[in-house]
């Protein structure tokens, strides 16, 4: 047999510039753009918008909890709809989309020295499918019956039965929207993963990548493996609803009548959902871990402590998080031996996580800490994350979890660990990279005010919920009713939480104002305002143009953490600075 020649792509062609797609019209440049940076902004803007919608929903819920008779249209049904849409939006459509679609698209190509994502066309489709998913989701507000009230976990059988609000259209469109989201995400996710694996510039080895890229990369791999379970679960439930199959539906009697269902397994859905749902927590957390590492290192002018350990911890957390899912199911009636196994794996995850926290603190130790807004938000993240992690240890143990399950304690826990903590990172990251994206600084004074109100406010809102949970206030209840075992003060505490939630929520509009105002009026930033080392700050122009690097792609000579290197001329050495020019030891 003759030798088969290898495909031409094997010739070292990381990038032929002529293969870069050059938009010719306004429409292909700004709307149907294939440029990862434009797609990133589209993703972020859409996700931020949804974030404000979800915030408004949380206001309504809080009003109901704090002042039960104030808003008359919130009855039990409406309350269910509010929590469902709030929870689902925040977790999937806001946080996932922001971290991967937004930061992933903007930062990966720039940080690894690529000109764009490897498949710009699929990348563009990814955003448009996301938009379709968002429209499907929002449309349920306007359809008969309204959005689904099944809770963000969508547990069958109740999710698709009458009695749950939104069983006409809400649940169907919710499932469809999730399916479209997964397909769209897959197109983007393949881009993020392959760009990191195969699209790096010369000298950019895996172990020289900034931790931001490691976090987003690992999260994308996880998403590609975890979203399939959500996809399958959604498809099957859609069939249960539309075709009358009984995948998840046992035999049921409703209003004295046998339903047509029989023989299905509701616990199966819970397994599918949490096989997606738990990794999802880390899909949100790992990018946050990565970004925080870079923010801390840059703003404390110190190399990250234990870089290798940090990378391995990210990978270990990513892998372990696929074998802990059933800690969300301790009260589901599954085999009790499962609980033992899953509690063990859950507690093991604490080890790599704790390593990361120690390394952040050791990075700060004796650092030259600049209390800039991004640094403040990073510190806030460490505190809230540790806080949420500790309550996670409570909930990870079966015996402690069983009484706390479905109480406000759980709500407090997950808001701390996957609500507040990642949101703080997102804010920090926006303050950090906004100058690169727009060429202007955000207003620092407003930024610091934003930080203090958000950080302290988040504590005022969510910390008391731990206590409410401990005294037994249940989750997903629209009022406490006449139960006698709550002290009177529980209701006044609820009212206080609500007031804080309104204040903190309102203050986010100041942040929005800052974003818009600084676009024109912000201080000009220059190319590298934070004197940072990683590649995105070394672009020839700011904001980086189409193709990112001008004529030649940068060559990388070092890792991203050369701050305060002894003997170097400056207190930072960019990754693309050749050894001879840097002075000192390279």
């Amino acid at each position: 047999m003759t030798e088969i020649p290898l495909g031409p792509a094997v010739e070292t062609e990381p990038f032929h510039d002529d293969d870069l797609y050059h938009p010719r019209s306004w429409l292909t440049k700004y709307v149907f753009s294939q440029d990862a940076k434009v797609i990133a902004i589209q993703y972020s803007a859409t996700a931020l918008f949804l974030g404000f919608v979800a915030l408004a929903l949380s206001w309504l819920m809080r009003l109901q909890l704090g002042f039960p008779d104030l808003v008359t249209f919130i009855d039990a049904d409406a309350y269910y709809q509010l929590i469902t849409m709030h929870g689902m939006m925040m977790v999937v459509y806001v946080l996932t989309a922001l971290f991967l679609g937004g930061f992933g698209n903007y930062l990966i190509p720039l940080m690894v020295g690529a000109r764009d994502m490897v498949f710009p066309y699929a990348n563009m489709l990814s955003f448009w499918l996301y938009l379709v998913a968002v429209v499907l989701l929002l449309s349920t507000f306007f359809l008969p019956g309204g959005p689904t009230g099944a809770g963000w976990t969508l547990y069958p059988p109740q999710a698709i039965l009458s009695g749950t609000p939104g069983q006409e259209w809400g649940i169907i469109l919710m499932l469809l929207s999730l399916i479209v989201f997964v397909i769209g995400f897959t197109m983007g996710g393949l881009n993020y993963v392959v760009t990191v694996l195969q699209g790096r510039t010369e000298g950019m080895t895996l172990m020289r990548m900034p931790l931001t890229v490691w976090g987003i990369f690992t999260a994308s791999v996880m998403a590609l493996l975890a979203f399939p379970a959500l996809f399958v679960g959604a498809v099957m439930m859609l069939f249960d609803k539309l075709l009358g199959t009984s995948f998840f539906m046992p035999a049921l009697i409703e209003m004295g009548e046998h339903l047509k269902y029989g023989g299905g397994s509701p616990v199966l859905f819970q397994h599918l959902f949490w096989f997606f749902g738990h990794p999802e927590v880390y899909i949100v957390a790992l990018p946050a871990f990565g970004i925080v590492s870079d923010l801390i290192s840059t703003h404390a002018r110190r190399n990250i402590f234990g870089y290798r350990m940090m990378v391995w911890a990210i990978i270990a957390i990513g892998a372990l998080s696929f074998v802990v899912w059933a800690h969300h199911m301790y009260v589901s009636g599954m085999n009790p031996y499962f609980g033992f196994f899953f509690a063990t794996t859950t507690l093991i995850i604490a080890i790599p996580t704790a390593i990361k926290v120690y390394n952040w603190i050791l990075t700060l130790w004796r650092g030259d800490i600049h209390l800039t807004t991004p640094m403040l938000f990073s510190l806030g993240f460490i505190i809230t994350f540790v806080n949420g992690g500790l309550t996670g240890l409570f909930l990870g143990n079966v015996v402690v979890d069983v009484p706390l399950s479905d109480t406000m304690f759980v709500v407090a826990h997950f808001h701390m660990v996957m609500g507040v903590a990642p949101i703080l990172v997102i804010f920090g990251a926006i303050y950090h990279w906004y100058p690169k994206v727009t060429g202007r600084m955000l207003h620092e004074g407003l930024g610091k005010l934003h930080f203090w109100i958000t950080f302290l406010g988040a504590y005022a809102i969510f910390f008391p919920m731990h206590y409410l949970g401990l005294i037994g206030v249940p989750r997903r209840y629209h009022e406490m009713g006449d139960a006698t075992f709550f002290p009177e003060s529980a209701q006044s505490l609820n009212a206080a939480i609500t007031v804080m939630a309104l204040v903190v929520g309102a203050f986010q509009f100041v942040f929005l104002f800052n974003l818009i105002w600084s676009l024109r009026r912000g201080e000009p930033a220059g190319g590298n305002p934070w004197r940072a080392t990683s590649l995105e700050w070394q672009t020839p122009e700011t904001p980086p143009p189409h193709g990112n690097w001008g004529r030649t792609v940068p060559v990388v000579y070092r890792w991203a953490y050369d701050y305060n290197v002894p003997g170097a001329a400056e207190d930072f050495i960019p990754q693309n600075q050749p050894p001879a020019a840097a002075g000192g030891m390279a």
């Binding site: 393949l190 993963v193 195969q198 099957m236 199959t245 023989g263 299905g264 397994s265 599918l272």
Partner: protein, 240 residues
């Protein structure tokens, strides 16, 4: 200044061996997988993700089958084909499987000829693959209509547990969709090979990128994967 040479990492050092060299290759600059182009890497990772989709479907099927209280229909009875008055268990499915596996053979040949830039033979082999794939889908449609005719529905059937029909239609339908998509892409890429797009570096209509003959190989990966999945579906539905 010992490290001043361009840091291609440890590549080239003669002492690398075994696992270590694997690790240092993966960690090298530019590409983790030295011999994989972007497209190929993308397809492998997509297939990994798709494996999880099929895996979830099949695990869901097994769970449904174990947990339903009704008896499961007898596969060799339900899936028998009547020829000249005698019922042959699994006859149709054996033919379908044979057809699909054969199409993997023609696909592999097509990849080989594509790298030799033999446009004629490549096109012919790809069309043959597409034809076999279409035959498979056609026979599947025949089987579906036969079952539907006998009263099998997604929500119930006369032979036993309702989940039988639900999982069967869902999973074979999902797989059949994969085959159909594969057939469509086979036709598209066969046309490009025939027209000589990959010789003259013509740009794609949507992506505006130049194609390579490697596209045939990447499509081949997908096609073999879809075949492999069928083997599992076959085993779990027809032999269990």
């Amino acid at each position: 200044m010992t490290e001043s040479a361009l840091p291609r990492t440890a590549a080239g050092s003669p002492t690398r061996a075994g696992l270590r060299s694997v690790a240092s290759d993966l960690a090298s600059d530019r590409r983790a997988f030295r011999t994989a182009s972007w497209g190929k890497a993308m397809m492998w990772i997509f297939l990994l993700s798709d494996t999880f989709v099929f895996g979830c479907f099949l695990i869901a099927y097994m769970t449904a089958r174990i947990s339903t209280p009704e008896p499961w229909p007898n596969a060799s009875q339900v899936f028998s084909l009547e020829v000249a008055g005698t019922a042959f268990p699994l006859l149709l499915i054996a033919i379908m499987t044979f057809v699909l596996i054969s199409s993997s053979g023609t696909m592999a040949l097509a990849v080989n000829y594509a790298f030799r830039r033999d446009r004629r033979t490549t096109t012919a082999l790809m069309l043959a693959t597409a034809a076999l794939g279409a035959t498979f889908v056609g026979m599947q449609a025949f089987e579906w209509s036969k079952l539907i005719h006998e009263g099998v529905r997604p929500w119930g059937n006369p032979f036993g547990a309702a989940q039988f029909g639900s999982t069967f239609f869902m999973i074979t339908g999902f797989h059949g969709t994969h085959v159909t998509i594969g057939v469509i892409f086979l036709l598209i890429i066969a046309r490009k090979v025939w027209r000589g797009d990959y010789e003259e570096g013509r740009r794609g209509f949507f992506t505006s990128r130049r194609g390579h003959y490697e596209a045939v190989e990447i499509l081949g990966l997908y096609w073999h994967f879809v075949d492999l999945v069928w083997v599992f579906i076959f085993a779990f539905f027809y032999l269990w």
